[in-house]
């Protein structure tokens, strides 16, 4: 598993850009690559189209809040159906958690359509803004909800449409 991910790193550095891979995580059960946000779409497109990887299945996009550190991580779980392999990509986005500036990432909807709902969920609950997303509305929470509930520094509102939220 870790040799595969190291090999993938060399390939990406050669094929995409020398800055495309920021870091590599080899420890743990699931090695992962840290991708530079600017090259995320190029890396994903390469992984999907290259016959040696053929990563055609996006399993999951999970946003992780590393409060009190000033950054978020978005984790892409990819799988290849013909090769029966799994790849994990991580993207780190710095953000100071101000209410006016959300952390921003490019959307991968143009590569895997399933990302559409996953990214909407990440936006809805964690407040990650995906640029070039076709329809980035809230998905689980009501459209007029304030704040992003899965953030660690989130506080429940006292009322929602005059309905008390807390007892």
């Amino acid at each position: 598993m870790s040799e595969q991910i190291a090999h993938l790193r060399t390939v990406l550095l050669e094929q995409i850009h020398t800055d495309a891979v920021q870091d590599i995580q080899l420890a743990g059960l699931q090695p992962a690559l840290y991708i530079h946000p600017d090259y995320l779409v190029a890396v994903c497109r390469f992984l999907r189209d290259d016959p040696a990887f053929y990563v055609d299945f996006l399993s999951d996009i999970a946003a992780v809040d590393y409060f009190p550190e000033p950054y978020f991580e978005v984790v892409y779980q990819l799988a290849s159906i013909p090769h029966q392999t799994q790849i994990t990509l991580k993207v780190r986005c710095e953000n100071d958690r101000s209410s006016t500036e959300l952390p921003e990432l490019p959307s991968v909807c143009s590569i895997w359509r399933t990302a559409e709902w996953h990214e909407r969920e990440a936006y809805d609950l964690m407040g990650i803004f995906f640029t070039d997303h076709p329809d980035l509305r809230r998905i689980l929470m009501p459209d007029d909800w304030e704040g992003f509930p899965l953030r660690k520094d989130y506080e429940d509102p006292a009322t929602y449409h005059d309905i008390p939220v807390k007892e």
């Binding site: 743990g28 895997w112 803004f129 980035l136 809230r138 998905i139 689980l140």
Partner: protein
């Protein structure tokens, strides 16, 4: 903040400015054919659906947020409530992930693993019976629904006997089981299998090969394989489109590599490959395969891994789950497709920093706007039923 609200404004603009011959219809959230509290906003032109806009979240119970506030063992009952029709499969997937992070997964006794697979497959049959039965009723066939629920009740009774609860079991625990199977369970289970096999034959006669049913489902909602993969569809949705992709075989977790079963795929027998009938047929065939797995499990449980008086399924239960800071994505084959849990753990803590559930229904449903373009309203019901969603998992 205006940039962040652009999409919402665009959506409202679209609803407000529909053409004069078009009409917006809300299907749900209280509608028997949406299988729960799903609201579909349809833009229709007469009987033709021009666009489907799903609205989710009516059953959102903050699974991710809850899981961040309690230890792994306490989260198991919450996983039961994700896809409440297949609780065993959910907790099996979750428990597998925690065990792998603990490094316990190789030392689980075989008897425990076989019991897990046995109850999971029983639960898979129960889940598919609901899918088949309610699909029949969506199309207008009432009798198969009653038959399926009658047979499902036997499974519910058996699982209640084992776990003490009818639908939300909390039976599979980290490192073992709640209890060993009750005495006589294996014999009762074999009785059920013998009773159930001819019933599947009857189901085929009344529904699968029913001309009215075929007319309503064949060539409806055709989902090509590449579209299915691109939309992240898994389980019977993906297999209905002809892709042989079953995580029980691909990942070979638990004792599935030791068991014999086939992976049914859609063949386009009644119409084009990947239509509603194919998805339905895959489920019916999967029930047969599950029965085969159950028979093999029972053989092993009664011969090789017999009940012993000193066998304790709780022997390996960790007193406290103490993990390193790491992250892991576990996936398993739920009746509806790939169920995944993504764990991000903290150093020396049994409370995860982040736990994300990837529900198969959520992803399978996301293909509906693509399938529901330019179809009849009645066909939309057939398409939605063939996706087999459980809102508990869509909304989490």
């Amino acid at each position: 903040m205006s940039r962040y609200n652009e999409a919402l404004a665009r959506y409202q603009e679209k609803i407000d400015s529909i053409a004069s011959q078009e009409m917006v219809i809300n299907m749900g959230p209280q509608h028997p054919s949406t299988h729960g509290v799903l609201r579909l906003e349809l833009i229709t032109d007469g009987e033709i659906v021009k666009e489907v806009i799903p609205h989710l979240g009516y059953l959102h119970r903050c699974f991710d947020k809850h899981a961040e506030s309690m230890s792994f063992g306490k989260t198991i009952p919450f996983t039961d409530r994700l896809d409440y029709l297949s609780s065993m499969n959910n907790s099996h997937a979750f428990v597998m992930g925690v065990e792998r992070m603990l490094g316990l997964d190789q030392s689980i006794p075989k008897r425990v693993e076989y019991i897990r697979v046995l109850v999971c497959e029983l639960n898979r049959i129960a889940s598919h019976l609901i899918a088949i039965g309610t699909y029949g009723i969506d199309i207008g066939a009432f009798t198969p629904f009653m038959w399926c629920f009658r047979d499902r009740e036997h499974i519910m009774g058996m699982l209640e006997w084992a776990s003490g609860s009818r639908m939300l079991y909390n039976y599979i625990w980290i490192g073992g089981l709640f209890y060993d199977l009750p005495v006589g369970f294996e014999e009762r289970c074999r009785e059920f299998v013998d009773y159930f096999k001819p019933k599947l034959q009857e189901l085929d006669e009344i529904l699968t090969n029913n001309q009215i049913f075929i007319a309503r489902t064949a060539n409806i909602g055709i989902l090509p394989a590449d579209v299915a993969i691109n939309y992240g569809c898994s389980g019977p949705m993906l297999r209905g489109s002809g892709i042989k992709w079953d995580l029980r075989r691909v990942d070979g977790y638990s004792v599935y590599p030791e068991l014999e079963f086939d992976i049914p795929v859609g063949e386009g027998k009644m119409g084009q490959k990947g239509d509603c009938w194919d998805r339905y047929k895959v489920r019916v065939d999967e029930v047969r395969e599950s029965v085969r797995i159950i028979e093999q499990c029972l053989d092993r449980l009664m011969m090789d891994f017999k009940r012993m008086p000193d066998f304790d399924p709780r022997a390996l239960l960790p007193k406290k789950v103490n993990l390193k800071a790491q992250d892991y994505y576990v996936r398993a084959e739920n009746p509806k497709g790939e169920l995944g849990f993504y764990f991000v753990t903290q150093e020396r803590s049994d409370i995860p920093r982040r736990l994300k559930a990837r529900g198969p229904s959520f992803n399978n449903l996301s293909v509906l706007p693509a399938l529901g373009k330019d179809v009849l309203i009645a066909d939309l019901i057939a398409i939605l039923g063939s996706i087999d969603i459980v809102l508990g998992e869509v909304d989490r």
